[in-house]
Symmetry: C2
């Protein structure tokens, strides 16, 4: 399983917290004896859940936090005001070196703010970016920024490109990952000002395998392992992926159920169809890593159940074991 990893888990973050979070933690801890999961949250509640579910793993511990940041709270205000929340306490465990990484399925905005203000950024990184993985025909690709900075600068996008490249190289063993910028046309002069400015910066990066523009139409079949954009565009891309696929599949299912012949046909293709849909299910990559912080901070899906928490914990542990942070620090140039 690899070397020892300690993960601080926000046990009260997410729609299904704390029960599903605890269950997922127990499932993961059971399969990875090299890990130690610290459940952060209301001690009594957590201990009751452990007892009721007969969970008694030596590599699973509880760390008390009396408060909870709700998903509807204002990110900056919540992080400032709720010092005793499970999210803030978990981030502080990382800050003080008592955990190697942190995972939360709670308030995304608060996590982004908390990670950067409490754990802090790697020297030379202006803004941390969220790095969700999307499935493409070629395999997994990362979108940077997939959710943190909606109003961005070209220099930030340049740094995200470098961090994304390191991430894909280490996490998925991709040699010299192809980096593309999400654009509205293939030609260099296409795009808004941000994209044009970033394009010029990326062209100068000799250590990056920059392949130019990736048109949104080509993202599902893209040759790029790293797709660079601001977080507004990144979010639109991620959500369109999800939305169009979901609607199309539900329409196809409806069409299949509309007649006897097509119903039989539907039964015959069911298995093949399932295979395709699972390939296109982003959930299988378990959580998005925040790139640029001094220790890994991972955002789990808000609606995570035990299975997704288990996958996200595995992902978080891999991020630590692959030394993503040290590798980013080595590759980011420090402005003088």
């Amino acid at each position: 399983m690899g070397n020892k990893v300690t993960i601080a888990l926000d046990a009260f973050g997410g729609d299904n917290a704390p029960l599903e979070i605890v269950k997922g933690a127990a499932e993961y801890a059971g399969t990875d004896p090299g890990s130690h999961i610290i459940l952060v949250g209301k001690k009594d509640v957590l201990n009751d859940i452990l007892k009721e579910n007969d969970i008694g793993l030596s590599n699973l511990s509880v760390y008390n936090a009396d408060d909870v940041i709700e998903t509807t709270e204002h990110p900056v205000k919540a992080i400032r005001a709720k010092k005793d929340s499970s999210m803030v306490k978990a981030l502080e465990l990382v800050k003080h070196g008592e955990a190697d990484a942190m995972l939360s399925a709670g308030n995304s905005g608060a996590l982004l703010v908390g990670a950067q203000t409490i754990v802090g950024r790697i020297r030379g990184v202006d803004r941390a970016c969220l790095a969700p993985i999307v499935p493409t025909l070629k395999g997994p690709a990362v979108i940077v920024d997939g959710g943190a900075n909606v109003d961005a600068r070209a220099e930030w996008l340049r740094q995200w490109a470098i961090m994304g490249s390191v991430y894909m190289e280490k996490m998925f063993s991709i040699n010299s990952p192809a980096v593309g910028i999400i654009n509205i046309g293939a030609e260099e002069e296409k795009g808004n000002k941000l994209v044009q400015d970033t394009f010029a910066l990326l062209k100068e990066e000799k250590d990056l395998n920059f392949i130019g523009s990736v048109e949104a139409r080509d993202i599902p079949e893209s040759q790029a392992d790293v797709m660079v954009c601001d977080a507004f565009v990144g979010n639109v891309v991620l959500k369109m992926y999800e939305g169009v696929a979901k609607t199309l599949v539900s329409e196809i299912k409806k069409a299949i159920m509309s007649g006897t012949a097509s119903k039989i046909g539907g039964m015959l293709i069911k298995k093949s169809l399932k295979g395709v849909l699972s390939t296109y299910n982003p959930a299988k990559y378990g959580g998005a890593t925040l790139l640029g912080t001094k220790s890994p901070v991972v955002k789990g899906h808000g609606n995570s159940e035990a299975e997704q928490i288990k996958i996200a914990l595995e992902h978080t542990a891999t991020t630590v074991r692959k030394n993503i942070v040290a590798n980013i620090a080595e590759n980011i140039d420090i402005a003088e």
Copy 2:
């Protein structure tokens, strides 16, 4: 068919020009005796095509233009330099009142520039926007701006919202169309600066049926008839629609062909599947109208064949007959 409409058609614009353009014009002119289509381009070439294809319609005429703007040319430079091009000549026919509207499947950037500089903008409109129709579960919806202005201001988006609303009301007989802003979350404080500023302006528009944010995930099932965004985001949305649907369908087809049982299943669902896919085919709406110009200018798909040109001509004629321009002029407030 409605009252008399004269359309200037750029017969040398598009990948399949001039042959498919002329054929499409002939097909349309034959079905709409109330229309008059002016084929603009090299006179001799066009007359030869008409002769070779035995086209002798009284409502189809030829207007000479010796030059052609290629799709790879720089938009502003091309419009300035090529005064004798089929695109510029067709726009000038509209400017001088010899045609009611113009259609081109040629260089999109040049058409956007040419339409605004030659035909000109309606008083009070800061920037014209492109208004492509996308299919949703509810029916057709328009994206404004779907392709013209990648770096935009909130005030422009406000005007596009008004123009989009007029457009959907008149073209599709939708009473008080629902207007949404494409955003990365449902809450008002979500979004980048442009979206937040626009949100505030749209909330104040008492004549608009503003329903707030539309998350990208929900676009295919959106309740909005008009979706407002800058052209970079609009292009990403349009292209993701196309790209995800295309990839998913091709993957499903591959999966169906992978085994004997699923092959038989595939044959049985073929018809139902076709129905779904045609619902999600944006091409059926034929071209995107430029909103905000003094006369309708419509952009056809670059790869249009005769059938698409015919549909786009019908669309262009409807834009004239529904008095879109006069209705926009009435609803746009003039800044003093």
